[in-house]
């Protein structure tokens, strides 16, 4: 058991850097090892969000632009958080069909990624990509559309049920909230969202028929009167802000903040691993909320900081021998690809058609490998986002991961575009054990191999090797890199 004053050490430093970034180099691990958990978490979370916005004249170029940014960024935690929010506020280009809006949303996610969560949700309310994706632009008083209202509660803030399994809202609440969001459209001449009086479901018009604008009469801890969201700001733009304020006051059946628990749970599982069932999960979630004060301040930086000092976060760091109760977590495809490129210092090449590819590789574009691994950025499979953990693993996605590993390790590029082991390790090594240790160290899984697995890699090398001989190097050292990148250990946290 530890706390924020516990010194990291190498194993936990590497874990912290892998989970909050994309791979960890030896020098970074050495720099973090002597720090306490608290000091390290502060160092990682105290960044100023960048204004980066993926560039390009179509969605494919913008996708590559974001990937390139992840590979080169000096603040990888920022991008890990943007990925998290992209999954949370899942929005797909397939429906939005406007790549500028997708890029704008990406910048919005970055600006708010560790800011105030309530402000974040209010900003998402009026994000054009989201308004298009979940039909706020198609929500008129005569033909109300419940899509955004439903997901605002189900996926963005509350969840269908609280931790104890009690419903958080009912259909009537969805209907009521959709009334609040009626009337919004896009003003093409000014290029901004616009509130249209004529399409808004005003109380004066439908009061008698649809009742007062009240939510949470049955749920949420407000009692049978519920909460009237037209007060005190009046209807229109203030109304949707008022709805968010009320959502954030919603209580679980045991009186705890629903929003705080919902978001804390998801972030804990993102940086850590799936939580145990209720009520054990509540113990972990509530202690992190208590330390961070998230249910009062909605400060995401402080919440992430407290997650990164909690014992729960370090549970997946353990090295073999594993107990059956040792938790692990599957590395996301984007994490795998970006980590591999960063750790091996391989630069995919760009061409004038907007491709970004591994020279000599099987695919013409890095996003192509990612598509087969099951993760197309700006194209989550549904409003639910991606399926985490085992959902990432099947024969098709594994073959895509293996192919990427093979191509990165084997591709014969020119100049600085291909794998150059000499910049990563000492080519003077000859003993198979030393070479295996050096390669697994570069990739960051040396601590996670059993003696048998290390021996299997040594057996692959055969006997002592002269790595300065290019033929030996290409045949065996590059082959070893491919193998190590394909090992289960590299695909798990």
């Amino acid at each position: 058991m530890g706390d924020e004053n516990t010194v990291l050490g190498a194993l936990h430093a590497r874990h912290l850097l892998r989970r909050t970034g994309f791979g960890a180099r030896k020098s970074e691990v050495e720099a973090f090892a002597p720090l306490t958990r608290g000091a390290a978490a502060d160092r990682l979370t105290n960044f100023k969000p960048a204004k980066f916005r993926p560039a390009g004249r179509d969605i494919w170029r913008r996708r590559v632009s974001w990937l390139k940014y992840m590979v080169r960024t000096r603040v990888p935690l920022q991008e890990k958080l943007v990925l998290f929010w992209h999954d949370h506020f899942a929005t797909g280009y397939d429906k939005v069909q406007n790549h500028q809006w997708m890029a704008d949303q990406n910048r919005l996610l970055r600006l708010h990624c560790k800011g105030n969560f309530k402000d974040f949700v209010k900003a998402i309310n009026l994000d054009p990509a989201m308004m298009e994706y979940l039909d706020t632009f198609r929500n008129f008083k005569e033909q109300p559309n419940e899509n955004y209202a439903r997901e605002l509660m189900e996926l963005f803030t509350l969840g269908v049920t609280d931790l104890a399994g009690q419903p958080n809202y009912d259909q009537q609440d969805i209907v009521q909230i959709s009334r609040a969001f009626s009337g919004w459209g896009w003003d093409w001449s000014r290029n901004r969202v616009r509130f249209n009086d004529w399409a808004h479901d005003y109380m004066s018009e439908y009061g008698a028929e649809r009742g007062p604008k009240v939510i949470f009469r049955n749920r949420g801890g407000f009692g049978p009167a519920g909460r009237d969201f037209t007060q005190p700001g009046g209807e229109g733009p203030q109304e949707i802000s008022q709805v968010v304020d009320i959502l954030f006051e919603h209580r679980d059946s045991d009186g705890k903040s629903t929003v705080a628990r919902f978001i804390t749970k998801k972030l804990l599982e993102y940086f850590g691993h799936p939580l145990p069932p209720y009520p054990d999960n509540a113990t972990i979630i509530d202690r992190v909320i208590l330390r961070s004060g998230f249910d009062v301040t909605w400060d995401l930086r402080r919440l992430v900081r407290e997650i990164l000092v909690d014992d729960f976060f370090y549970e997946t760091a353990s090295a073999p021998p594993f107990a059956s109760s040792t938790p692990k977590s599957v590395v996301w495809p984007v994490d795998f690809v970006v980590s591999t490129l960063r750790l091996l210092r391989v630069n995919p090449r760009s061409d004038k058609w907007g491709n970004w590819y591994i020279e000599g590789g099987q695919y013409g574009n890095v996003p192509g490998y990612l598509a087969d691994m099951g993760q197309i950025l700006f194209e989550p499979p549904s409003v639910f986002g991606w399926d985490w953990e085992e959902g990432w693993i099947n024969s098709a996605t594994l073959l895509a991961r293996y192919a990427f590993a093979r191509d990165v390790a084997m591709a014969r590029g020119t100049k600085a575009y291909h794998l150059r082991p000499q910049v990563l390790m000492n080519l003077g090594l000859t003993a198979p054990g030393d070479i295996v240790d050096a390669v697994t160290e570069v990739v960051g899984i040396r601590d996670y191999l059993t003696a048998n697995e290390r021996q299997a890699l040594m057996d692959y090398l055969g006997g002592p090797l002269d790595l300065n001989d290019p033929d030996v190097r290409y045949r065996k050292l590059h082959g070893l890199f491919a193998l190590v990148l394909q090992m289960p250990q590299f695909h798990l946290h």
């Binding site: 409003v383 099947n394 057996d459 193998l483």
Partner: protein, 481 residues
């Protein structure tokens, strides 16, 4: 499996009259019966987006006990954007009447291929399948169907069955497409995912092919080590990787085998030139491989999907440019080839295809399409199916359907009330029937570990399972012995 074999033999009467005597195995019929169970194939075909049930199984005329055709004509307009299918175009595709109301029904003309199979008696249509308090979100409702759980969580319903019968190193299933089908999801055994068998290629180094065997043995060694780990996720990745490698060595060979042995069938699928035909073709290749006893080809459970059913706009009626017609043609035509291909292989009696969608669509059409709805028909296709119309047509004459107001969205009313002539079928009854009668799982096991009953009002919730569907006309069971 011994129990289920026994069950089968008892059901088929083979254990009666001291048949277990000397020379039993010499009798072909008995040998066949023993080989039968555990010898079956299951194909799950998902219509992605919410298929419009009302324009799939359509009332042609009013029945003796209901005026569904009149209601249909109120709900579905003629003229521009109108979705009404006229009796003249429907009559060639007539099927049995709706059991409780005696309403004459027909399939959408796009389902002509499926209708020919219906005429052969190989298609069962189970009307009005759904669940209470319908969720109109694509993702949630789909998860509910996939997991057979109202909470829309956990492993898939087929996955739970696979996990109970197959081990980590076995490959009992193939999900055709880029994603693992949700109904197959689980962590115990290995289900392949591939859109074409030829894609199951292990990436090796083309520059040093002589090093490949060394690489593969090292790969196998590290994955075998993960398989032996006590950490569940590491073991899962180990199993998946090892199964994937095995599959890459066996499955791509099926391409050649099928091409050599069954070129005319291959041509028939290719002539259709649709995604569904291609996906069923890949399944046919695997079934043929299993039938031929190709080593390491063991997949008997398949999933595929056809997308595009979310017809909010421009749904269309009949004709090659009409969206819903095209979707129906794609599925019906491909299934017809698939069935006859299997029949030609001699295994049509061993294969069951189940066709489902996450929800149906609203009876009242909008401008020129339909919005998300509730209960809809499920199709079961196979040689051992007792073809016909089961279940009850949703009551589209209900005033809440014909005149949707502020309190009801206009979808048909879901009911489990036995006194309701239009009683719905809980979709888990269909799953249970498949598990019990097709996969020979004891009902007690189904209800204890595979499907979960609801608690609450029995006129709404699934509290009394009804797995033993009986044909309303010939009174024989849904699955023929």
């Amino acid at each position: 499996m011994s129990l289920s074999r026994r069950d089968f033999l008892i059901r088929s009467g083979l254990l009666a009259g001291g048949l277990m005597a000397n020379g039993l195995w010499a009798r072909p019929l008995v040998r066949k019966a023993f080989a039968d169970i555990g010898d079956r194939f299951l194909v799950s075909l998902f219509l992605d987006g919410g298929n419009d049930g009302l324009n799939t199984v359509v009332p042609i005329a009013n029945g003796s006990f209901a005026t569904f055709r009149a209601s249909y004509e109120l709900l579905r307009r003629t003229g521009p954007g109108g979705l009404r299918l006229e009796p003249s175009v429907l009559s060639p595709y007539a099927i049995d009447n709706d059991p409780p109301t005696n309403t004459p029904l027909a399939l959408h003309p796009g389902l002509e291929g499926l209708h020919r199979l219906y005429q052969l008696g190989k298609v069962a249509i189970i009307q009005g399948c759904g669940y209470p308090e319908y969720n109109l979100s694509h993702a949630v409702s789909r998860s509910i169907w996939e997991t057979a759980s109202r909470a829309a969580m956990g492993p898939g319903w087929v996955g739970r069955y696979l996990a109970s019968r197959y081990g980590a190193s076995q490959i009992p299933g193939l999900s055709v497409g880029y994603w693992m089908a949700g109904e197959f999801r689980q962590q115990v055994t290995s289900v392949l995912t591939a859109s074409r068998l030829s894609e199951l290629q292990f990436p090796l180094d083309d520059w040093y092919p002589d090093d490949n065997s060394a690489k593969l043995s090292a790969f196998q060694a590290v994955y075998a080590s993960a398989q032996a780990s006590s950490q569940p996720l590491l073991r899962y990745v180990g199993n998946s990787g090892q199964a994937t490698l095995t599959a890459t060595q066996a499955y791509p060979t099926l391409d050649n085998l099928y091409q050599t042995d069954r070129p005319s069938w291959l041509q028939q699928y290719n002539n259709l030139d649709t995604g569904t035909a291609r996906r069923l073709r890949e399944i046919a290749k695997v079934i043929y491989g299993v039938v031929q006893g190709v080593p390491n080809i063991t997949a008997r459970h398949f999933a595929l999907s056809n997308g595009g059913y979310d017809t909010h706009a421009n749904q269309g009626t009949v004709g090659p440019n009409q969206i819903h017609y095209r979707l129906h043609r794609e599925v019906g035509d491909a299934l017809e080839v698939f069935y006859h291909d299997l029949d030609d292989m001699g295994v049509a009696d061993k294969v069951l295809v189940m066709i489902w969608s996450e929800f149906s669509r609203r009876p009242q059409q909008n401008d020129n399409g339909t919005d998300h709805g509730s209960q809809g028909p499920v199709f079961l296709v196979g040689g051992k199916i007792n073809g016909g119309v089961y279940g009850n047509h949703p009551n589209i004459s209900d005033s809440r359907v014909l005149n949707p107001g502020a309190t009801w969205d206009g979808n048909t009313i879901y009911s489990q009330d036995n006194s309701d002539p239009h009683r719905s079928t809980d979709f888990r009854d269909v799953y249970g029937a498949v598990l019990k009668h097709w996969l020979a799982i004891p009902e007690s096991e189904i209800l204890s570990s595979l499907l979960q009953l609801d608690t609450g009002d029995p006129t709404q919730y699934w509290t009394s399972p009804q797995f033993d569907f009986v044909h309303p006309v010939n009174s024989q069971p849904l699955f023929l012995p």
